[in-house]
């Protein structure tokens, strides 16, 4: 049974790779975290087969967690009524106290459900269920698994079926869920992160998807240098990285509807064609992009220390830069202040 996690770089064709593995013969389960990626995968499957074949199932992570792992075993016993996506109140319940896992209305706290499943001893049943229905389990956006969800993922990966996880460590911008200090430092260090998989007997593959189709050499080099995140290009295409250094230049960019402006947050306040760094994840249709940085990041950039920014900022910048098929404009947000409402 091949169990493998592929660490991919931005634009290296994760989805394409995943879809290419699917066939009408093997029964496949595909799990992804975000709704966006769920519809993206679904549409890609429809594109390939003309329809959603009955042997292929796509689920969002929480549909899987609740509908596949919990409900078939515990629905009646706990008489629950779906998930609660708020944080549980600060109260101390023992780990084996069911009140820890549900609210007063009978909804299960999304961030503790994976733990409840473990505590209730459902893991063997879930593994048997996976084996009963699927030949291969695919997990996309695996870098988003955090908290108890990451533990659950590793636990069920022991099921006797093929497992293929795909993700990009540095595109980790969202967490499936968090609960206190559980796995809170999971994403701090890529070496330790890889070791968690290796320990669960999952092969770590950093080769297959190490080159970007989307980004040219220039952008890849820029990312490798400034963010110290390793990314190679398939194309060897040369483009330009341009620093925006005048108000007049910024005005021109602001007015240009062909160039997306990527802001750290609240992009909608700038009244132009724009998006936030993190939210641009998964977008594949931008040509040139303009990354707008706050004063702190801008300073770090000028000093060549952009890689020292906090992990979350660094990851989001990585997402933003790697959107570019063509060139990248880099601008300080003070030049856009005039437009902010």
């Amino acid at each position: 049974m091949d169990k493998r996690v592929i660490f991919a770089v931005a634009g290296s064709g994760k989805t394409t790779h995943l879809i290419s593995k699917l066939s009408l013969e093997k029964r496949a389960l595909i799990i992804t975290y975000t709704e966006n990626n769920y519809s993206h995968l679904r549409n890609s499957i429809i594109k390939k087969f003309g329809t959603l074949p009955s042997n292929i199932t796509v689920m969002t992570y929480f549909a899987f967690l609740h509908g596949f792992c919990f409900r078939p075993f515990m629905q009646n016993e706990m008489n629950t009524r779906g998930l609660n996506f708020r944080r549980p109140p600060q109260r101390n319940y023992a780990l084996n106290d069911r009140e820890r896992y549900r609210d007063r209305g009978g909804r299960l706290y999304h961030n503790r459900l994976a733990k409840l499943i473990e505590v209730e001893g459902l893991l063997p049943g879930i593994k048997a269920r996976i084996e009963r229905f699927y030949d291969t389990v695919y997990v996309d956006e695996v870098q988003d698994f955090a908290g108890h969800d990451f533990n659950l993922l590793l636990q069920i990966s022991a099921a006797n079926t093929e497992m293929l996880f795909v993700g990009d460590f540095y595109q980790h911008t969202f967490d499936t869920s968090r609960d206190g200090s559980v796995n809170s430092t999971l994403h701090d260090d890529i070496t330790k992160y890889e070791k968690r998989f290796a320990k669960a007997k999952i092969k770590v593959d950093k080769e297959t998807l190490s080159k970007s189709w989307r980004c040219g050499t220039t952008v890849c080099d820029f990312i490798s240098t400034h963010l110290q995140i390793k990314i190679d290009s398939h194309k060897g295409r040369v483009s330009q990285i341009i620093k925006v250094d005048s108000q007049e230049f910024a005005d021109r960019l602001h007015a240009d509807h062909g160039i997306v402006k990527l802001f750290q947050e609240q992009h909608y306040k700038y009244g132009c064609y724009s998006q936030n760094w993190g939210a641009s994840k998964g977008q594949d249709h931008y040509e040139d992009v303009c990354v707008v940085m706050g004063s702190k990041a801008w300073k770090q950039y000028l000093e060549g220390k952009l890689h020292e920014s906090v992990a979350q900022t660094r990851n989001k910048l990585y997402v933003a830069f790697s959107r570019a098929r063509g060139g990248v404009y880099i601008a300080p947000d003070k030049l856009f202040k005039a437009y902010k409402t």
């Binding site: 078939p72 075993f73 515990m74 629905q75 229905f133």
Partner: protein, 522 residues
């Protein structure tokens, strides 16, 4: 084909709790009136259809077991004690994980769907509580709700049914709902979805074309207010379709004919994929002539690929479809199966002339007799030796089986635990014919009664010897060649009938018959 393997009912209609296992082929539900044959079919229909509106039309009050409601009213009447109704249909396991799980009454990990009617405690708990306190008689049906689910705990929705089924209830065959439902279902499995949608679309467009062309002249003078043609959900192709035979809508035919046509049409095999998985037939013998019924049974017996559930009172249907398929519903919410019947016995009942096998199977106490003469006299003799009570009053059934197929009936009786007194002739060798012969067939609750005197080889000889005076008086006059005894042997039924008419008061039965009558009520 996703076969229905089992149904579990809880507080449904008259069943507090019932589990029935089914065959993948034919299942014949037999039972007395009021044993719940129709309820089983209704339960299957409701759960498989997952139609909230259908359940609500029938009403929770008539679905929820009244015994459960009574038990609740006599108890502490607290929220947690409110009864819940459950119907769960267990299916053959398939490849869809959405049906697979342990969320069923049995707690078994398998495929299935269910229906639950339960009080809405989370939503209306306080109101119900108040109601129960204020009104000591009332039961809060209004605060019940129905839910359809799969064994994986997910919702079960009507547009994604794992089992395509159809209920044909001959007693309601001409109701509008049943007719529409029938046409809709048959249409859906005769026309593949793309064809269906194309037809529906063309029908709607045809109506629009009629409006634009034919009504145009009329509308031209009307200004802002115009005549149109209804194209709503209540007036589409599915609602307007009817099924015709020789150009006549089957709704306009007699009930018997309708029942027959509908069954035949539903069972007809189609190359199309969307076939019928399960057909539920409620008393198909209603409205059918004997000939028609035989045709229908032939149809049913030849059915392949559709699981059949037939509730019937007809011995003919039941035995001709192989008794081993029969599920016997008792009045005590018990269900027996005749699956264990041996092959020769099952084929015997399939081949034997029309018989009383169903009456036999549904009885608790039976006196089996060999011929017409015994049958004619035994009721009278019974009354005489049980202080005037009739066999019916003692719930004793008298069945004449013609010939000596006692062993076949005894096998059935053993399976169902029926008390059987079999009365037969010794045919000149009591030990051989009446003792050795049944060594293997008898069980506790079954006994052979026959004359131990080999000379008294038949009923008539014994009867004559014990009632010589009465018989001579009746039959001696006019005898030329035959003796009275010989006459009685040659005209068994007539002689018995004469005795019953004219000498019943004086009649003394042979001892073994007295014994049988005494024994059956022990």
């Amino acid at each position: 084909m996703p076969a229905i393997k089992k149904v579990m009912l809880q507080n449904f209609k008259k069943f507090e709790s019932l589990t029935l296992e089914f065959d993948a082929g034919v299942n014949v539900l037999i039972g007395d009136n009021e044993t719940g044959k129709s309820s089983v079919l209704l339960g299957l229909d409701l759960a498989l259809s997952a139609s909230r509106s259908h359940v609500e039309t029938i009403g929770y009050e008539s679905l929820l077991a009244q015994s459960a409601v009574k038990a609740f009213q006599h108890g502490p009447r607290t929220l947690d004690q409110l009864p819940e109704l459950v119907v769960e249909v267990f299916l053959e396991e398939g490849d869809d994980q959405g049906y697979y799980g342990t969320q069923n009454l049995a707690g078994a990990m398998t495929d299935g769907i269910g229906m639950k009617i339960a009080p809405l405690i989370e939503e209306f708990g306080a109101t119900i509580h108040q109601l129960l306190q204020d009104d000591p008689e009332g039961f809060p049906y209004e605060y019940y709700g129905v839910k359809f689910y799969t064994f994986s705990g997910g919702p079960h929705v009507s547009y994604r049914r794992p089992v395509k089924h159809l209920l044909l209830d001959s007693s309601r065959i001409d109701s509008e709902y049943a007719a529409r439902e029938y046409t809709r279902t048959v249409f859906s499995f005769n026309a593949e979805p793309p064809e269906r949608y194309s037809l529906e679309n063309r029908y709607r467009r045809g109506k629009e074309a009629f409006r634009d062309k034919e009504l145009a002249a009329l509308n031209a003078d009307l200004g802002a207010y115009q005549f149109g043609v209804r194209t709503s959900i209540r007036a589409n192709l599915e609602t307007d379709l009817v099924i015709t035979k020789d150009g006549i809508p089957i709704e306009n035919r007699g009930k018997g004919e309708q029942c027959f046509i509908k069954t035949e049409f539903a069972l007809r095999r189609h190359e199309a994929k969307g076939e019928l998985h399960a057909l539920l037939l409620e008393e198909p013998e209603n409205h059918l002539s004997h000939t028609r019924m035989k045709l229908l049974v032939e149809q049913l017996a030849a059915t392949a690929g559709t699981q059949l559930f037939i509730a019937t009172h007809s011995s003919h249907i039941c035995s001709r479809l192989d008794l081993r398929h029969a599920l016997l519903l008792g009045s005590d919410q018990q269900a027996g199966r005749l699956k264990a019947l041996t092959e020769p016995t099952a084929s015997f009942f399939m081949k034997a002339p029309d018989n009383n096998v169903l009456e036999f199977a549904l009885s608790k106490k039976v006196i089996l007799v060999e011929g017409d003469a015994e049958f004619i006299l035994i009721e009278e003799l019974y009354k005489k030796h049980s202080n005037g009570r009739t066999p019916q009053a003692d719930q004793v059934h008298i069945i004449s089986i013609g010939g000596t197929s006692f062993k076949r009936y005894l096998e059935l009786g053993m399976l169902l635990g029926i008390r059987v007194a079999a009365i037969r002739d010794n045919d000149g060798d009591y030990q051989q014919h009446c003792v050795e012969n049944y060594k293997e067939s008898l069980y506790k609750g079954a006994q052979i009664f026959a004359d131990k005197d080999d000379a008294r080889s038949t009923f008539e000889i014994g009867l004559y010897q014990d009632n010589k005076a009465a018989c001579d008086e009746l039959f001696a006059a006019g005898r030329k060649k035959l003796t009275v005894q010989e006459y009685m042997l040659k005209n068994k039924a007539d002689a018995a009938f004469e005795l019953l008419r004219k000498k019943s008061a004086a009649l003394v039965p042979p001892q073994y018959i007295k014994d049988a009558i005494a024994w059956i009520n022990e």
